[in-house]
Symmetry: C2
Subunit: 346 residues, 2 copies
């Protein structure tokens, strides 16, 4: 076994580290006039509107470094912010990344994290234009802000859903949540008996969903291509229930979701049953799926026919008047009230 290289961050110093981390940046977007290297980035969006979203990720709350590869973490930190920009039906163009580095992190560890950041920049065509680097006395702290652009008439809010609109989602749900349960289970087993190797085989999909999620750029591209402007849209970070309630609240409407329409991958369902978790609860309240939840006019639905290019879009319910409330209709026909949860991380 070769020993991994360990360079103290102090060897480079703050400015040296920033130079080291940013020296290979190549600007991709015309709207990026000035990136890293001044007091602020300068962007030019001409007649487009500007969309801004931000997230703070803290060690022990949002991620556990015992099972999260740093490269994946860098990738995910970017992707979860881009997801918010796509949820506005806009296109991300720039990000800033600030990090508070714990004393146990080497330059090599920081490099791994930034490899993931740059990989996400590459994959989603965004420019890293700024940030802040400091030490942290406690854990690793990451703050990402994403900036994007949208046409005035395309930007989609949570507030536009109308009665009888169809409620659609991309992808499937509960997989990231089950991936997290799996990692937590194996961590406990490892802690009580370090000789046992983790049993992660055959769960690639679930692990990828929690450790290296993607933002649904292709979904917004598809919607544009087939000429659908959603009446409302949100990304699913806290589970379908919570996000659906946001749309209902902002649009002053109610909804009916149908249990049998909620897309759940077979591997999600299998592991959930093995672990005694209701797969539906994982899908509705699990979170971290980063799929898109949106509403469309009924007449738009047929535009998806034959046009999806491998992108799975599912109609899972419809919008009702506000007075009818927000409910899930179970397979047996019962109506169960949707409830929101926050702070479920960690």
């Amino acid at each position: 076994m070769t020993k991994k290289k360990y360079t103290e961050i102090a060897e480079l110093g703050e400015f040296g580290l920033i130079d080291h981390l940013t020296k290979n940046i190549k600007i991709k977007n015309e709207s990026t006039l000035k990136g890293v290297g001044d007091d602020a980035a300068v962007l030019d969006y001409k007649d487009k509107q500007v969309v801004v979203s931000t997230d703070l990720l803290l060690e022990g709350i949002h991620f556990d470094l015992t099972y999260t590869p740093l490269k994946h973490l860098g990738y995910k930190a970017v992707v979860v912010n881009l997801s918010d920009i796509y949820a506005m039906n806009a296109e991300p163009k720039q990000i800033t990344v600030s990090v508070g580095l714990s004393s146990k992190m080497s330059v090599e560890a920081v490099d791994e994290f930034y490899e993931g950041v740059y990989l996400a920049c590459e994959r989603y065509d965004v420019d890293l234009v700024g940030g802040d680097t400091s030490s942290s006395l406690t854990g690793f702290a990451i703050s990402v802000t994403a900036v994007g652009e949208g046409e005035k008439d395309s930007i989609t809010y949570r507030s536009g859903a109308g009665v009888n609109d169809l409620i659609c989602v991309s992808g499937d749900f509960g997989a990231a949540y089950m991936g997290l349960q799996l990692l937590e289970r194996e961590k406990k087993i490892f802690q009580s008996n370090p000789e046992v190797q983790p049993d992660l085989a055959t769960h690639d999909y679930l692990l990828e969903r929690i450790l290296k999620p993607e933002a649904r750029r292709e979904v917004t591209e598809l919607l544009r291509k087939i000429g659908i402007k959603p009446t409302s849209m949100i990304d699913v970070s806290d589970g379908i229930s919570s996000e659906m309630l946001h749309i209902c609240k902002e649009s002053n409407v109610g909804c009916r979701l149908y249990e049998e329409k909620i897309p759940i991958d077979a591997t999600t369902a299998m592991l959930a049953e093995e672990m005694g978790i209701n797969p539906l609860v994982a899908a509705l309240n699990g979170g971290e799926d980063y799929e898109l939840l949106f509403t469309i006019k009924q007449e738009d639905y047929e535009k998806f026919t034959g046009a999806d290019g491998g992108i799975n879009i599912y109609a899972i319910g419809h919008i009702t008047e506000e007075s009818k409330g927000a409910y899930l209709v179970t397979s047996s026909g019962q109506e169960v009230k949707l409830t929101a949860q926050g702070w479920k991380h960690g």
Copy 2:
């Protein structure tokens, strides 16, 4: 003594807390189309360019809650970001504020912090348009992103300084650094003998400079009013030396600063001598002054005459060719090489 009210954050929950903190927001700027309450904020800058800056502040590194009132901290967290926008010769219009709340923080404590945030928004006419709220396992973490606008021809970079340009600064230097030394000294005395009351009287100015700094909006307004576009500009967060070296590097020039021209307040100098610190070192390497350091064409200097409206602007040196290096000329005529330091917080 009345007991302070203590409400657990869990009583409100994440979404309840966000509602509580944002319910009184009134949007002030035309460019803010959508603030808090969707996946992202939506801004419209029309033909202006967009300027973005971000900072991450961590408990124990950037601030010490044993002597930092939360309201001041909220104010400062915003101001230090606005300072970066002014340093681009631009105007801040929106901010996002993300917080990781430690478990010992009550709703009342969070309210105090946000009182400071809103006070800064009021004072600088910026809108709070987004953010993120989570718990923190470790300390209080704060991330602020500021967005502003500038005319294409006004935005000022670090890279435009030319040979023979005058180097100017606003305000005075080293006061925040001495304020910090004072707080640290009194903290140590208090820790070894809690009966002793802190000796902070007569040091109001120094304490205000460290605990509740201001961004130099009036300076950029003055420059606009009298028709000066600086050739380069930066805000002084890490001390004059470090910032001057940034300008030299980005502009490919050298400089001469003159010891006797560096503005240092009398109270700064007095406390420095009392504590055995060279006041010049405090001014050059101390940091956190949040004054502006900028270069102008020589012929522009006379425009300041009679126009300053109480704003102190000092010429402290001039730009040279790069080959001449970056030096401070002492009162005795010696040349001392400027050196940069980073990560001096805490």
